[in-house]
């Protein structure tokens, strides 16, 4: 049953879309530190605070490390929390990312994806969040400013679900999304507030033997972030993995519930196949590149080429089954990485897709394209060449060069 609400179309950059979504999501504490290309998020949010438009406590911390430490502490005190970062800032948070997921604090963070130093570069790629792949955070990557807005709202629901209780980062490509003005349909404040609801806490057993909500509360003292030695540590980690698995269904549920009020959904929330059903060749990509890729797929289809695209929206948890069933009937797959794994065999997304397809009855050929590092523009012509390569691979029945660099001077 659909009950789509009336929406207001606004002209927002990706960063502004984040700030606006946070404003509407009844967030209690924001702690953040500015960094390009995330800065507009905290600037806009500061204006909301300064103008009394939100009741949020906003902490301008002295570093990203402290920003996340403050968010984590606020979150386990019972607050809904948000932060934003990018590049070096996310790298500085590295230690606290693990602590946040380990403490099961459902912090929501926007990442305006940006390259890592050195050399210094402020432009877009996925090196920053990919480097945090194993930190125990859910990772979503958005295609456009509309999805950025929608995903931030959804993120609170996903992270705070009592079966998940994990932090989540929503990636938006630096500058391409963060700084580009787009039309964004926004929900009314009350619709968002109702959708995100208030924070829920699972009941846990305290050391005093009482059942109590999982948060720091003087009425039911709880020790959080203890030391766990070899006799217990492993079980903590296993539980995090279980929560990640639970997130797979929660992300889908939230995606479809959100569709009911907004009339917008992103595939099943995990993957978004585009003209993939009968495709013989397909590319896999994250983020804003998918927009251009879709137009290329359309053009190829018009010429009778059975091309398709799979946009991976949820990178963590990895939707293994969805990926395998979506790709196993394709003859050749190009996996696109906006990140390098130095000394490895291709980029991080390539690793995953190859891994997933290993268990397919018939394995497609898989080739990796590393592209767009440090904001390097990737032209439609270059993107189109990926499909020509795939056609050659299918014809030749072999992958000659599994790791390719797109738009690079060699």
């Amino acid at each position: 049953m659909k009950s789509v609400v009336k929406q207001e179309r606004m002209a927002l950059s990706g960063d502004e879309a984040v700030a606006y979504a946070v404003k509407q999501s009844d967030v209690d504490v924001v702690a953040a530190y500015p960094i390009t290309p995330q800065t507009i998020i905290v600037e806009r949010f500061s204006e909301y605070v300064a103008n009394g438009e939100v009741q949020t406590e906003y902490i301008c911390t002295e570093s990203e490390h402290s920003a996340l430490a403050a968010c984590l502490a606020a979150s386990v005190t019972g607050a809904r929390t948000f932060t934003a970062s990018a590049s070096a800032g996310l790298a500085l948070m590295h230690e606290m990312l693990f602590v946040t997921s380990g403490c099961r604090a459902p912090v929501v963070m926007a990442i305006a994806n940006r390259a890592l130093s050195a050399p210094l570069n402020i432009h877009g790629d996925h090196s920053d969040s990919m480097a945090q792949r194993d930190s125990g955070w859910i990772q979503l990557y958005a295609e456009n400013a509309q999805e950025v807005y929608d995903s931030i709202i959804q993120a609170f629901r996903i992270a705070e679900d009592v079966d998940v209780l994990l932090p989540i980062m929503v990636g938006l490509d630096g500058f391409t999304l963060s700084h580009t003005l787009e039309n964004v349909d926004t929900l009314p404040d009350d619709a968002v507030k109702q959708f995100v609801g208030s924070r829920k806490f699972p009941n846990v057993l305290t050391h005093e033997g009482k059942k109590a909500p999982f948060k720091l509360d003087p009425e039911t003292p709880m020790t959080m972030g203890p030391i766990a030695l070899p006799n217990y540590y492993f079980e903590f980690k296993r539980q995090q993995e279980e929560a990640m698995k639970n997130a797979l269904s929660v992300i889908q549920k939230v995606n479809s519930e959100y569709a009911k009020i907004s009339d917008r959904s992103y595939g099943n929330g995990l993957i978004e196949p585009y003209r993939l059903d009968d495709a013989e060749i397909a590319a896999v990509c994250l983020g804003s590149t998918a927009g251009t890729m879709k137009t290329i797929v359309d053009a190829l289809r018009e010429k009778g080429v059975k091309a398709g695209l799979l946009r991976l929206r949820t990178f963590r948890p990895l939707p293994i089954e969805d990926l395998r069933s979506a790709l196993c009937n394709v003859k050749a797959v190009a996996v696109m990485d906006r990140c390098m794994s130095f000394g490895g065999h291709g980029g991080p997304v390539f690793h995953e897709i190859r891994n997933v397809l290993y268990d397919a009855d018939v394995r497609p050929y898989v080739v990796n394209y590393i592209y767009g590092l440090g904001g390097r523009d990737t032209s439609p012509l270059e993107l189109r060449s990926i499909y020509s390569d795939l056609q050659r691979i299918v014809a030749a029945k072999r992958v000659e060069k599994p790791i390719q660099y797109l738009g690079l001077r060699e």
């Binding site: 209690d28 430490a69 929390t81 203890p226």
Partner: protein, 324 residues
């Protein structure tokens, strides 16, 4: 929150339930655990404690056990003050929205010298600059004891640690102890004080004052560690006294930047003959043993001279004319 009447008598303290409980894994003679127990005797109501990684965190929270009868959070080594910021902000936000059950909840951050002078300093400086309402307690055992006695910014000059050993070429740590409490006064926060567990009533009163002021408060407590100081387990509290009586660690407080000596140190200021030589404090501590060899005599003399100079500067800040 309205100021409450507080009087800490031995009877009051004995009757007040412990909130830092026994059963922890600290070493025999550990003064920091005494400090924690005292701090928790001085709280005035609902309180959340957050603690940096360190000995006291490790000994008190080995899963599935805990020594903490209050809500307690540990996240990392350098994050005590940042955590306190987050907890305080969360409490404020929840209160604004009518989601907080209590009228007020105090926030205490606890860290050792490593988590305060060194790795946690940036977060501490930032948190007090932002003016969060919390009490930061530094329990200073003057080295990284949790990892095996490595030097910190709080280790005194001359002390031997595992990373500033007393070698044949270098006689222990070469640098002076950072004047951390003065640095916190320079942040222009409402309350800064030093304390020693020997003067327990003074310590309790300072914890309470730190909680009662609006805004950040900083309490620097000297807390001997027999393992790291290579000292007699039975003498930790005695060293806590000697540090004050020798003026190596004078007791004072700065209320809104106004320095004033606390009773134990004031008595020495008024009767300088009571001031004991630093050797009374240094003797018996294995970490200073090498200073008592003839070739290091000048270092002992320097220790005395620098202690005297710092004491004189403190007296001047307290508006007391130095007596000789």
């Amino acid at each position: 929150m309205a100021t409450q009447e507080w009087k800490f008598t031995t009877k009051d303290i004995a009757e007040k339930p412990d909130l830092f409980l026994s059963g922890h894994r600290a070493c025999a003679g550990c003064a920091p655990t005494v400090v924690l127990r005292l701090i928790m005797k001085a709280i005035r109501g609902p309180t959340i404690v957050t603690q940096a990684t360190g000995c006291m965190e490790v000994v008190s929270s080995i899963y599935p056990y805990t020594s903490w009868a209050v809500p307690w959070l540990h996240t990392a080594f350098e994050t005590a003050a940042a955590n306190a910021s987050g907890i305080e902000a969360a409490l404020k936000a929840l209160k604004k929205k009518g989601k907080l059950k209590h009228e007020h909840v105090d926030v205490i951050a606890i860290a050792g010298d490593g988590g305060t002078y060194d790795i946690g300093f940036q977060a501490l400086s930032g948190a007090v600059e932002r003016g969060h309402d919390f009490l930061f307690v530094l329990y200073d055992n003057e080295a990284y004891m949790n990892t095996g006695i490595q030097r910190s910014g709080g280790t005194p000059k001359g002390a031997a640690t595992t990373t500033s050993p007393a070698g044949t070429a270098i006689p222990g740590k070469l640098e002076y102890k950072k004047p951390i409490a003065d640095i916190m006064v320079a942040h222009e926060i409402p309350y800064v004080a030093t304390a020693s567990p020997y003067y327990w009533r003074d310590l309790l009163a300072k914890v309470r004052k730190g909680l009662e002021v609006e805004g950040p408060a900083f309490l620097h407590v000297l807390a001997p560690c027999p393992r790291g100081w290579r000292s007699d387990q039975a003498k930790s509290i005695e060293y806590s006294r000697l540090a004050v009586e020798t003026c190596v660690f004078p007791l004072w407080e700065a209320v809104n930047g106004q320095y004033q000596l606390s009773v134990a140190s004031k008595l020495i200021a008024l009767a300088p003959q009571k001031k004991r030589p630093v050797t009374d404090y240094l003797q018996g501590q294995g970490r200073f043993r090498h200073l008592f060899t003839p070739k290091n005599k000048h270092l002992l003399e320097e220790f005395q001279r620098v202690t005297d100079e710092r004491w004189q500067r403190l007296l001047a800040k307290c508006g007391i004319t130095a007596k000789t």
